[in-house]
Symmetry: C2
Subunit: 542 residues, 2 copies
């Protein structure tokens, strides 16, 4: 079982050091400390374990070190920044693992850009040696890239020429869409195994600058000083992210506010979220004192962990039924607190993290049905779970009104990868319905929710059990691959962004290539990399 929880004391591959407004993240991958057998992490190459640490470090900088304004990514290995994802790990992994590995590393890189865009921290890739493949893709997720000019170090994307696969962690997309490298130059660069060094790399826009070895550290330091001097420094103290507590049995995984119950023989899981208690602190100071025990933060950390666990450790679960229990007014009170204080650094970070977790859900290759019953509290931020689901079922019980409600957070706080809110995305055909729903006072009972277009089906209590049972049985009988492709197509209507291009176009092509004989077959390039045998291609173009 893969564990996504870690902390700096446990890091094996990264060193996180903080010096005033500057954080330094130094990569020093330990060859033997792999997640699985059969490969060594040479040359700062990485596996999922390395990236779990990186994701944790970025998250901790945001919550534990709000004073940080610049993050320098570098390596402790001489002449090598990072060689990218470990090829032997890829070569020995199952198709499903490769796909989930790439998805997680993509989310980590998008989290870097999310921090830069929304929290204003500037990420500097200080390439003290060659950055190849995923190494350059990590650099290109940063705001600025500086390469040492030692006559040898280069940036490169050697996946196509050497491995017969794509740079699958956003590299191709960020090349032409973020750094806006001319497409013919991007074509040359992406087929050139040895990559490009200082002068030409800069001319083509692949890096921002290069400095000779003797001046490299000074130049990076000077640039970092420029950055920290140009922004107003922050003197907030952070909060500590303690380990989240989990109780696992064979068919359940329970956190404080989130529970996962697995019906493996039926290929579905129940994911239940408990709403907040009444009268939670309403001022940022009190919340800061409460720290990581504050309901929104702890609940979304638990939800995030549950989603990652489902993706990687429970591949046969095809459908997740989302339920909530609790008091709607308590959820709305929390949302009110978050809304009122959204300019406070901690509240902002909490909201941004909730948004990232919800995007993680959007990008999870499982079907999601929301089940809205008596005692549920699908309101405000928890109503996003309804909107993020592929379908929702709301019980229509004449004897007991069930309610859902929106809050001030629904119309903007949690954008999807496509830049729209889930309400906007839902009502593309009739944008005014999103406004009407938001303007509606005091929640929606089942009939109102159905009329407002907020839920898919509203069966009455006589049909309810059968309808839910049938819906689950039907969904879990369908081809899991067809569902993955279908959901990836239907979930992201409307505009596309760099993120959706990475998760849609680039990832889908990579997944295609990841099962082609030319990559993973007996004679494929990925299979034969580093062996005395040569790849042999079937040259028919598809």
């Amino acid at each position: 079982m893969i564990n996504f929880q870690t902390s700096p004391e446990q890091y094996k591959h990264w060193k996180l050091s903080i010096d005033g407004a500057v954080a330094k993240l130094s990569m020093d991958v330990q060859e033997e400390e792999t997640l699985a057998e059969g490969y060594k992490l040479k040359l700062n190459s990485y596996d999922l374990g390395v990236d779990i640490e990186l994701a944790d470090a970025i998250q901790r900088i945001r919550f534990e070190h709000p004073e940080v304004r610049a993050v320098v990514m570098t390596s402790l290995k001489p002449r090598i920044f990072c060689a990218g994802a470990n090829i032997y790990m890829l070569g020995t992994s199952s198709h499903a693992f490769k796909v989930n590995f790439c998805k997680f590393t993509n989310e980590t890189r998008c989290a870097i850009e999310d921090d830069s865009r929304h929290s204003g921290r500037r990420y500097i890739a200080a390439l003290n040696g060659t950055a190849s493949g995923g190494g350059y893709e990590l650099a290109i997720a940063c705001d600025e890239i500086y390469l040492v000019d030692d006559g040898n170090s280069a940036v490169s994307l050697p996946e196509v020429p050497l491995l017969g696969v794509l740079p699958g962690t956003g590299g191709l997309t960020r090349l032409v869409d973020k750094r806006k490298v001319r497409r013919d130059r991007a074509d040359v660069f992406s087929t050139l195994a040895e990559g490009l060094k200082g002068k030409r790399a800069k001319e083509w826009g692949l890096i921002d600058d290069s400095f000779p070895t003797s001046k490299f550290q000074d130049s990076i330091d000077a640039r970092v000083r420029e950055i920290t001097q140009a922004v107003s420094l922050r003197h907030d103290a952070g909060i500590k992210l303690n380990p989240i507590e989990t109780e696992s049995t064979n068919d359940a995984r329970n956190y404080k506010y989130v529970s996962l119950k697995l019906y493996r023989d039926k290929r579905y899981a129940d994911l239940a979220v408990r709403g907040p208690e009444a009268k939670l602190p309403a001022s940022p100071d009190e919340i800061q004192k409460l720290g990581d025990g504050y309901w929104p933060l702890l609940t979304y950390r638990e939800l995030d962990d549950a989603l990652l666990h489902l993706r990687v450790n429970e591949p046969e679960i095809g459908l997740v039924c989302i339920r909530t229990e609790g008091n709607i007014d308590n959820v709305l009170a929390v949302d009110k607190t978050l809304t009122v204080n959204r300019d406070h650094w901690l509240i902002r970070e909490i909201i941004l993290y909730m948004a990232r977790t919800l995007r993680r859900l959007d990008l999870t290759a499982k079907s999601f049905f929301t089940i809205i019953e008596s005692g549920s509290c699908f309101a405000g931020n928890l109503f996003e779970l309804v909107l993020a689901s592929d379908r929702s079922y709301m019980l229509n019980n004449p004897d007991e009104k069930i309610k859902v409600a929106l809050s001030e957070l629904n119309p903007g706080a949690f954008p999807m990868s496509n830049g729209l809110t889930r309400l906007e995305s839902r009502f593309l055909a009739e944008p005014k319905k999103a406004y009407e729903a938001f303007a509606h006072e005091s929640g929606f009972d089942t009939e109102e929710a159905e009329a407002a277009g907020l839920v898919t089906f509203a069966p009455d209590d006589l049909d309810w059990d059968d309808e839910i049972r049938l819906a689950i049985e039907e969904r879990t009988s369908l081809s899991p691959d067809a569902l993955t492709g279908m959901e990836a197509s239907l979930r992201f209507a409307g505009p596309e962004t760099m993120d959706t291009k990475i998760y849609g176009r680039l990832t889908a092509w990579q997944n295609w290539i990841f099962q082609r004989p030319n990559a993973v077959g007996e004679h494929g390039a990925l299979t034969n990399y580093g062996k005395p045998t040569q790849a042999q291609f079937d040259f028919r173009r598809t």
Copy 2:
């Protein structure tokens, strides 16, 4: 060898009739008239042969019948409009063929929307019976959809529940992006094998209306009358599209203005385009008289045919080297004529067709290099070939100036699928370079072209032969699958549109599914469709 040329007299599956401003395209697929062995085209299901006729009919309406303002698509079979792509054809086709089949059918549906958007013809899907799968996808490419209400007929996308693949001809994307069907409803509809009938189909936005059998024809006629009465009728006579002449040998395919020379052992082809003669007619009347012999129309028809031929009949050709020969001034003179007269219906149709052909090139899964040598005429519309290529090489010969040039057509006439011109797409990082290039007078010699960023490399005459030879050898040695995914990612920087979503996201996922064991393996759903055996899935989600 598959032949993409046809004409109404040769149609087997469609009847095209014209009555004043109304064209009627009636589908009447002949079961036995298949392109390959092993399947029958029952229930108006289609194979590539059926779609080649449809593409031809739409093209002919535009050129031969400019008076047509409404196109009614219907079926001559009782109670069935169209059952979509033939499943047994898909089940027995190679992966590469399935992919190319879907690409062509997608281009045909985009051509319908292109006609509607730019030439103002209104397409009416008159569903006199059930439209399932590709049948509904054909309907959803039309502007309006009317379904007969006979208690039985439905619209449906049964691919996911019955076949374990996606509706791959744009259906999922058009559902949420064109018709803006709510995503939870799209999810239900796309997993419901039997589909939806009149009332609910209308309520969910899947159709525009339904009419009882007794009133169906009258209602369609009335709607068509409304359309033709609301627009100003046209009285232009069309021009005839005669068969294009081809001379083929084992390693060449020659047209009047286009030649294809195949180096199959080296896996590349030379595609040469000859520029126009001097003093071509400059007025629409003269051009109309000249008809389909007019250089731009004939050349792009030949180019279009050559691209389709390369895609489907020459799978091992991985690289196409584009060359031109002719006089730059003659090309610019043609572009001037086209620009000045672009509001004339025929000139507009010619320009729109050139744009579609160039988009066909963008979407072709082959590498394209442009080779710019002495005697070439890469100017104006032919310069789009340089911009559409993955790379370009321009000879730098001090003894003889070689030139390229832009025309008034480059900054707008030929948008890519992403809505940008190829100049805009090239200069995403520095938009002003596109303006500067356009403002530059009297063409660019090699050094100017390189400085302006218009070509990739400008080797001198000493290095030229080696450099081109090496570039070709290197490109054709790479994994063809990795190149396909790479090119599909690098060619479409910038915004995404419904078209790019269909060719990128949706198609890439479908291609992935098209090689998954759950679809095409021994126990896959596509393999077992219609057999007494049942599909058995590996339920692990990827």
